[in-house]
Amino acid sequence: MRKVMTGNYASAYGAKAARAEVIPAYPITPQTSIVEKLAEFVSTGELRAKFVPVESEHSAMAACVSASILGARTYTATSSHGLALMHEVLMWASGARLPVVMTNVSRAMAPPWSVWADHMDSVAERDTGWMQFFCESNQEVLDTIIMAYKVCESRGIMLPAMIIEDAFILSHTSEPVDVPDQDAVDSFLPSYDPEMKLEVGKPMGFGSLVRPDQYMEFRYKSMLAMREARDRILSVETEFKQVFGRSYGGLLDEYMCDDAEVALVAAGSVAGTARTVVDRLRAKGMRVGLARIRAFRPFPFQEFRSLASKVSGIAVLDRSYTHGAAGAFFTEIQGALYDVPKRPAMKNYIAGLGGRDITPDVIERIFEDILVRCERGSDPEPEWIDVVGLPRRQS
């Protein structure tokens, strides 16, 4: 059934379609309408779930962990400072191997106080052991929640996943979204059936102390699970496409890259803008493409190496900045490409922080710059786009 809805409602409908059973959540701008909609679904009986109004995001994730240990399918949503407050418990969820699925409405970190789109909050949690999926559209948000549960709950994986939608650009913007048929979702995503769970009559301690002689073995298992998730994400998406007719390009979603001279790497809603710029420049005869990071964890190593074999230049657009280094996407892609036989020219572009619009004009200028870089070679210095006070690049 097609409805017009915001990214936040797409998240709520995704959690409902996946039949989340326990939803502990704390409201924060711009995530609030996800939680409101889910509370409404629960109160009207449309969704049979326990809605837990908690006193903080730390508690929200702690409640998710507890419910998940008991074998419940668990969902929550947060944003920026709420996500940061969860940090400790995010590690608990992944270390205890619990398939919690959460929407993070990606928003800038303060100060300066900001409620707008920026990937710093999500990027700052890349090391917590969660899978991270950046979404381009509201439909992708809804579909990815359903797919994520299937990936996360796979016996060989058992890891949590973060579904990332950009603040306001997706969270509060309405688009037509197909809400899939419930029976089809139910057969695609059977109810959660963990190998082991906590039972009331049988007390157990989860995640208890291990000594130095055994700790690394548990971490090694998590590494194997995240590695296996790469294939699982692809196979689940293939299956999803067979049933629902939609897919999103796996871990790295390439658009017009096969014969491209240069590719722009970006994540989130800006990819939609970049597609139109690619079309426009292609019409002028410029061989440009887009490689959209869909999964940041697990990181698409092979996909980037395959991209590098096709193009002469890679522009990496980071909507966050790791101070003292560079954009996180850029440094990780650079690392992945260090030993490829033919290394493309690379450059890092920092844009759109704190919700500043990344317009088609900005993307066009990035493409023009990276095309020049193919001849001049990589630029080690990240370029901050349109910072007032810096000389504006002439295209």
């Binding site: 058992m158 082991m196 007390p203 301690g205 995640g207 208890s208 102390l209 002689d213 073995e217």
Partner: protein, 90 residues
Amino acid sequence: MSRSYEDIPLTPISDTPSTMNMTGLWRVFRPVVDLDKCKKCTLCWKFCPDAAIVLVDGKPKIDLRYCKGCGICANECLAECIIMVKEEAE
């Protein structure tokens, strides 16, 4: 004995409560109570961070299976009836 990563669960799971950990083995100093001097104020019982003191007729009895020998009871005791004695190797 350390086990292979293939033979361990996804996350460490214990089916026994933490009372199975005999933390008394950590002790270097043992509290010794002079029950004749005890005024039954129960401060030692209230302050024990490990709940290793039980009250018998209002007076403390140290549960040496769990007492880590931290000495807080001796420090808090107003009647000065608890002294810390170094454990000797048996």
